[in-house]
Subunit: 115 residues, 2 copies
Amino acid sequence: MLTKDELPFCPVATTVDLIGNKWTLLIMRELLTGTKRFSELHKAIVGISQKVLTQNLRKMEEDGIVTREVFAEVPPKVEYSLSELGDSLRPIIDSMITWGTDYIQQHLQAEQQDS
Amino acid sequence: MLTKDELPFCPVATTVDLIGNKWTLLIMRELLTGTKRFSELHKAIVGISQKVLTQNLRKMEEDGIVTREVFAEVPPKVEYSLSELGDSLRPIIDSMITWGTDYIQQHLQAEQQDS
DNA sequence: CCGTATCCTCTCCGATACTG
DNA sequence: CAGTATCGGAGAGGATACGG
């Protein structure tokens, strides 16, 4: 039996390969609160272009962390949600939310001391 | 008082800006086990070039998550370690290690079933 | 040993135009 | 609405040579 450090592939490298990317993490942040339409994601994620959003969603779908559902309507409607695998990544994003929240509060305090 | 969701800057975006990057996360993985020399990092992180390693270390130093110590010796010696702020990111990497380890084990099992 | 400087390549990404 | 297709500029990153 291999110990954690002796695994053939580094766990961090594996995780990084899936979500070690700015946009992927921001998309996941949106999907953690539930299913979203393409346009909702586009609006919520400031600075992303339609093209890059599509590219990232396709990659996430390939990797099995996002589910895509197309509705045969006019106008068209496409919904994205986290798969079970995608949802299993929730603790990672949560730890980022926790850390980022603390970090921001520290910086707000520091700025107030400056003024 | 603002609630978590009303903070002026998204916590995830803040965190992503600091460590939402392949190489940064892999460098942090190495430094979590203690101080490392430049050449040790270069050897440990497969696929990174000297230039990119330097660039990332400089950015991490600027962001305050890495400390750089130069020894006035011949041959020169430079040691990198996590700052207190950098070490506070440990829970995030830990959650990635936990998830990645599980993911790899699932895939190893799946491969064994295939054969 | 630990870099920086330069060149050159290659990919990313924005802008735009066009479809079901 | 939710894409795809195409073009072109900007920047990331490799290879190499050189410096403290």
